[in-house]
């Protein structure tokens, strides 16, 4: 009897103790500004990440040579306080400001910049965005490592490191001239390099292999053979001056160096802790408006105002929380209960209702930006290799139905790849007729010509999209549109993001959803994707004329002519339709009315350093209910017209 009593006593005690422990979670001080940053970020290493949730964080932690103006997105001085551009537009000389400091108090030097850019371009870094830096002289060849080398090039040979060395360290460098490349088959090569009048034969081996095995006679192991970095147009003049020489005049270069992948990282920190260790909150040294305070997976990233940032007087937020929340409804719930101040994308069903609110809400203003939603067609597969089929699919699409009924936040039907809004550029639209009926009739004709009268015999293609409510309803609607107009039977298939990406890269799909948001305000960011074999061109389509036009545009110095070349390229793309554009994005930010310094802009980019809270308006709001938003979080039962 006492035995069981003891047992239940113990059980109860254990439960109470664990509950007490559970409830005693240390409370963090509340943040000044909290926003929902959608999915969990991949990391905070500027060189290594891409994607907009990552961008929001990295932009707050690091600052490049320039920054973007929060409203116009024009480049304004960052750690470089001024710069000179040579008359031919090829040489940029940046002068770093005296008070640009790392969060450990040391100065940000031109040497740091050179180190960071080299690291960004270096092949072992595997920077997602390295290709953006290829406008710098020889950067492309440096980045592509041995595959771009020719006999006669000046090269640097990197020696191997001990296996347990920090992974961000470089081996000792030998600079020399490449005398001979021996093809050893199986993608392996040997390099003969002349150095100090001596010729040495180098074989690439990974560090571990190099330790374990002796190299073949008369050869030496090396980690990699690269173009000599001194050949690349990045040069430290003195500790405050940096000179960058470009491959060709690049109109958007100043903007580009303000983009987060080009931000500096501190060599000492990176090489001390290795990657990704250096990005841990206890190790990281950054130079932006904020420092990393706390990070918990799928919970939050806490940013603390930096007290070494040169422009700290103008940063008004002290603590910012970025929440990683994948469920869209949860984000809306948090906003409605005043737990967060900004949500990046409001899910469509809620958005539609709120846009119809009367009086109109003052915390929701969708605005167009440089983003396009499109379907890729796998042109290596039957029957999508047939231009008539691709055109039929595009024509039969009722984009209006998608944008005006399904999405209904002001999205614009897309007939071209490049969204409107780029000054001086006229987007080239794919051919459509004036009414949808004519489009459909033509589509049916084309499909019949291709051998599928009434859509009969058409294979059961599937539309691949990454798992998400919005993509699912679009895919289903398009499936029905194609079925209705063309009589073909289509299926939909969803995959989780990473799986979907790899299916697309390996071209294991028929029709696949894609979207692209401009990295900078120029048609090139959209059009250079579709050069033959391009990283983002997973359609199997390629056209030498197209490649030539993009190449010529890159070299063209006259901005007008340059735009004409891009237009010609896009016309070609829209004639051959390896992709079917569907609609242009609008931003769907919902921001509390007391948040200031938040602007709609062309890239939907909102630097946290410019945002501040109007405390007066915030406290007013709670004493004055009824302005703009509900005073409490009771249900707003909006009545919607069917």
């Amino acid at each position: 009897m006492s035995r069981s009593r003891l047992f239940f006593g113990l059980l109860a005690l254990a439960l109470i103790l664990s509950l007490g422990w559970a409830f005693s979670g240390n409370q963090m001080p509340p943040a000044d500004f909290t926003f929902v940053n959608n999915s969990e970020i991949k990391g905070v290493d500027p060189a290594k990440v891409n994607g907009s949730p990552e961008g929001n964080i990295v932009r707050a932690l690091f600052e490049g040579l320039t920054r973007w103006h929060p409203e116009t997105l024009e480049p304004i001085p960052g750690i470089a306080e001024r710069w000179e551009i040579s008359d031919d537009g090829l040489v940029y000389t940046f002068h770093l400001r005296e008070d640009a400091k790392w969060s450990d108090g040391s100065l940000v030097t031109a040497g740091d910049m050179v180190y960071s850019l080299r690291r960004f371009l270096g092949p072992r870094t595997i920077a997602e965005y390295a290709y953006l830096g290829w406008c710098i002289k020889n950067a492309r060849r440096y980045s592509l490592a041995s595959s771009s080398l020719k006999v006669g090039d000046l090269v640097e040979v990197e020696a191997n490191l001990p296996v347990d060395a920090i992974n961000t360290l470089r081996g000792e460098l030998v600079h020399g001239k490449l005398v001979e490349i021996e093809e050893l088959g199986n993608d392996e090569k040997a390099f003969v390099v002349e150095h100090d009048g001596k010729q040495t034969r180098y074989l690439a081996a990974d560090d571990a292999d190099a330790i374990k095995q002796e190299p073949p006679a008369d050869s030496r192991w090396c980690r990699q053979v690269l173009l000599d970095f001194r050949e690349v147009g990045i040069e430290e003049i003195d500790s405050r001056t940096l000179r960058i020489t470009l491959e060709s005049p690049t109109a958007y270069f100043l903007k580009l160096v303000g983009y987060y992948p080009f931000a500096p990282v501190q060599q000492r920190c990176v090489e001390k802790y290795g990657s990704p260790g250096w990005t841990k909150q206890e190790n990281i040294v950054s130079n932006g408006a904020f420092t990393l305070g706390f990070r918990r997976i799928r919970d939050r990233i806490r940013l603390i105002k930096s007290d070494t940032y040169w422009n700290r007087e103008n940063v008004r937020l002290n603590i910012v929380d970025a929440l990683a929340i994948e469920a869209r409804t949860t984000a809306v719930n948090l906003y409605m209960t005043d737990e967060v101040d900004w949500i990046i994308s409001v899910p469509t069903p809620s958005l539609k209702v709120m846009l119809k609110a009367d009086p109109p809400r003052n915390d929701l203003k969708p605005a167009p930006f440089l983003g396009v939603y499109y379907y890729m067609l796998n042109t290596t597969r039957k029957p999508l290799d047939d231009l008539r089929v691709r055109r039929a699919l595009s024509l039969a699409l009722d984009r209006e139905e998608i944008t005006s009924i399904l999405l209904a936040a002001g999205e614009v039907p897309a007939l071209s790849l490049v969204p409107p809004g780029i000054t001086g550029y006229q987007a080239q639209e794919t051919e459509v007729h004036d009414t949808q009926a004519k489009n459909v009739a033509r589509a049916q004709e084309l499909l019949a010509e291709a051998g599928f009268p009434k859509g009969q015999g058409f294979p059961r293609l599937d539309i691949l999209y990454n798992t998400d409510e919005a993509h699912q309803s679009i895919a289903e609607l398009i499936r029905k549109q194609w079925q209705r107009e063309l009589g073909i039977s289509i299926k939909t298939r969803s995959e989780e993001w990473a799986a979907c990406q790899s299916s697309q890269q390996q071209m294991r799909y028929n029709v696949a959803r894609r979207a692209w948001i401009g990295d900078y305000t120029d048609p090139n960011t959209f059009l250079d994707m579709f050069v033959t074999g391009g990283d983002q061109n997973n359609t199997g389509w390629g056209n030498p004329d197209y490649d030539r036009l993009i190449r010529e545009a890159a070299l063209e110095t006259d901005p007008q002519k340059r735009m004409r070349l891009f237009e010609e390229a896009e016309r070609l793309l829209m004639e051959e339709l390896p992709i079917v554009p569907i609609y242009f994005y609008v931003s769907k930010n919902m921001v509390k009315p007391y948040v200031r310094g938040f602007y709609n802009n062309l890239q939907d980019v909102h630097p946290l350093s410019n945002i501040w809270i109007d405390r007066e308006s915030k406290s007013n709001e709670f004493t004055n209910p009824g302005i703009g938003k509900p005073a409490n979080n009771k249900l707003e039962l909006a009545k919607e017209q069917p």
Partner: protein
């Protein structure tokens, strides 16, 4: 009891090895390996990355290496959550899952036992039907529906609790309720059945005949024996609560382990998935071991071998 514990330990090690082997080869069959990123990689870099993750070795070699690593206690780096090691992921998530889980369990036990015992004692009455209906809703609706409705009612209609997040006890109440509800349902049904069994046993009748009050009969004599099946249910339930909380974690934005458990499998995050599977096995075995211990403790007549 020590012999039993040792035998258990032996079985656990063997099971861990089997689970490891099954999971290892299952994961290698997933088409999307860890190398799928947003860009096409040049073959040179792809080789480099493959090397970094030992993917260039034969499966058997990989198996040997990974087994070695795990034996030395190194679960490796997560493939997808690049900045974290598997140990760090578990370290961050486990306390949260544990505290949420214990609250959910406490709730499930309280509600389940009350409902089960009451409906057994008042068998065939309206109380019985009512409690059992209530308890059964927990296993009649998917938990995302229950969670959605709870949020609507308790967050927006009554404004009692925060909508989502983690940090204070208020944040835990709703998720723990939603997480515990299906288990409360199971517990109530198990305790009802065993209570009914016990109530028809002779010694209860004897006790009743001797004039022991009805409350005392139920609470002291019957409940103790009726609890045994509930206790044995707790083992798998705890492991399930800790790892099966994905839906609740998503809806309430809680950074627990349940999400990793499923996402690692979907995303082909070999190392993290392996870590989670092994963690699950260890948890399950420890829980079952605790259950066996409490069995032996509660009822010395039952031999420890069962």
């Amino acid at each position: 009891m020590i012999a039993m514990s040792l035998r258990r330990l032996g079985w656990m090690v063997l099971t861990l090895w089997v689970v490891f082997t099954i999971s290892f080869f299952l994961m290698r069959a997933v088409p999307n390996g860890p190398l799928s990123s947003e860009r096409n990689l040049s073959p040179e870099i792809e080789r480099l990355m493959a090397k970094r993750f030992n993917l260039d070795k034969t499966p058997f070699e990989q198996y040997r290496m990974e087994l070695g690593n795990i034996l030395s206690g190194d679960l490796g780096h997560s493939f997808r959550l690049n900045d974290f090691t598997v140990a760090e992921v578990i370290e961050q998530g486990l306390p949260i899952s544990l505290s949420l889980g214990s609250l959910a369990l406490a709730f499930a036990l309280t509600l389940g036992l009350i409902a089960g015992v009451t409906s057994a004692v008042f068998r065939g009455t309206r109380w019985d039907t009512g409690f059992m209906l209530l308890a059964t809703t927990g296993i009649a609706l998917p938990n995302f529906v229950i969670a959605g409705i709870c949020i609507l009612v308790f967050v927006f209609f009554f404004s009692w609790f925060p909508a989502a997040g983690w940090g204070s006890w208020q944040h835990m109440v709703l998720p723990a309720f939603c997480l515990g509800l299906p288990y409360a349902a199971s517990i109530s049904r198990i305790s009802r059945t065993s209570m009914l069994d016990v109530l028809s046993e002779d010694y209860i009748r004897t006790a009743r005949a001797k004039g022991v009050g009805p409350t005392r009969v139920v609470m002291v004599h019957a409940l103790r024996s009726a609890l045994l099946p509930v206790v044995s249910y707790l083992g798998p339930a705890v492991a399930g609560i800790l790892t099966g909380s994905l839906v609740i974690e998503r809806v309430f934005a809680i950074p627990g382990l349940g999400t990793h458990f499923v996402e690692a499998a979907i995303q082909g995050d070999y190392t993290l998935a392996m870590g989670m599977v092994l963690l699950y096995t260890v948890l399950l075995y420890s829980m079952n071991w605790l259950v066996d211990l409490s069995y032996a403790f509660l009822n010395p007549r039952i031999s420890a071998h069962s």
